[in-house]
C-alpha cells in the first residue's frame, strides 16, 4: 500500500511538472513534445529497478517501445481528426483512446508473444 501511494505521489508530481513545462513553452508545436515526455516511465522506472531488478525494468522498457508506437499512432489520428472535423479536443482525445490500446496491444501480441 505504501509503495502504491509512493508511486501515486511521484507519478502525480512528475506528470504535473512535464505538463507545466508544456504550458509555459512556445511555440505550441514545441510545447506539444512534452505531451509525450517519458513522465510515467521516469516516475516509475527507478522504483521498479529498486523492487524488481534491472532485468525486469529492461523488459518493461522493451514493451514501452511498442506503447510509444501506439501513442504515436494515437496522436496522429487525434491531430488529423481535430484538423479535419474540428470536434472538441477532449471528446476527440478520449474517444480515440482505443487507437492506443489497439496499436499497442496489437504490436505486443505480434512481437512480444513470439519471443
Amino acid at each position: 500500500m505504501g509503495t502504491l501511494f509512493m508511486r501515486f505521489l511521484i507519478g502525480g508530481v512528475v506528470v504535473s511538472l512535464f505538463a507545466a513545462l508544456g504550458d509555459v513553452l512556445r511555440p505550441k508545436s514545441f510545447a506539444g513534445l512534452f505531451g509525450a515526455a517519458p513522465s510515467i516511465a521516469l516516475a516509475t522506472i527507478g522504483l521498479t529497478i529498486h523492487q524488481d531488478g534491472k532485468a525486469y525494468a529492461a523488459l518493461e522498457c522493451r514493451s514501452m517501445m511498442l506503447g510509444a508506437v501506439g501513442f504515436f499512432a494515437y496522436t496522429l489520428v487525434v491531430a488529423w481528426v481535430l484538423r479535419r472535423y474540428r470536434p472538441s479536443a477532449l471528446r476527440a482525445s478520449l474517444l480515440l483512446m482505443p487507437t492506443w490500446f489497439a496499436v499497442s496491444l496489437g504490436l505486443w501480441l505480434l512481437f512480444e508473444r513470439r519471443t
Partner: protein, 153 residues
C-alpha cells in the same frame, strides 16, 4: 528557425483544479502501470509506461485557453482552439519518436550500467530526438499554422 520562448504567465491561466486533475491522472496512471505489470507481467506493464496519461486533459486545456484568449477580444475562438490542440497533438507525435529512443536506451543498456546515470541519459536521448525532429519540421511549411494565422488576422 522558430525561437523557443518561455511564457510563465501561461501558468496563471491554469486553474487550481486543472493542476489537481493532472496530478490525479498522472498519479493514477503511474499506479495503474505498476499494477498492470504485477498482474500481467512486465510485457503488458511496459506498454503502460507510454500511456497517453494526461494528453486528453492537456489538449482540452489548450483548446479552452485559446478560446478564452479570443473571447477577450470578442471573437469565437472555438475553431482556433481546436486547431491549436491539433498542433499540440502533432508535437506530441514527435515526442513519441523520442519516447521510443528513451525506451530503447534503457532496454539495451540499463542492465549493464549504473541505472542512476542511464535514466537521465535516456531522458536526454528523448529530448535530443524530439527537439531534432521538431526543428526539422519547424522549417517546413505547415498547413495548420497557416490556417491558425489566417484566423488570427
Amino acid at each position: 528557425m522558430k525561437r523557443i520562448e518561455v511564457n510563465l504567465s501561461s501558468l496563471r491561466e491554469t486553474a487550481p483544479h486543472e493542476f489537481a486533475v493532472r496530478f490525479f491522472f498522472g498519479g493514477l496512471c503511474t499506479v495503474a502501470a505498476g499494477l498492470m505489470a504485477k498482474r500481467f507481467g512486465p510485457g503488458v506493464g511496459g506498454l503502460f509506461l507510454a500511456f497517453p496519461a494526461i494528453f486528453p486533459a492537456s489538449a482540452s486545456l489548450i483548446e479552452s485557453h485559446e478560446r478564452k484568449r479570443k473571447a477577450k477580444i470578442g471573437s469565437d475562438g472555438r475553431n482556433r482552439g481546436r486547431l491549436a490542440a491539433s498542433l499540440d497533438a502533432r508535437g506530441a507525435a514527435l515526442g513519441c519518436v523520442g519516447l521510443v529512443g528513451f525506451a530503447f536506451v534503457l532496454w539495451r543498456w540499463v542492465g549493464g550500467h549504473n541505472a542512476w546515470l542511464m535514466i537521465p541519459g535516456a531522458a536526454m536521448v528523448w529530448l535530443v530526438i524530439a527537439y531534432t525532429l521538431w526543428a526539422i519540421r519547424a522549417n517546413r511549411p505547415k498547413r495548420t499554422v497557416q490556417a491558425l494565422r489566417k484566423m488570427g488576422s
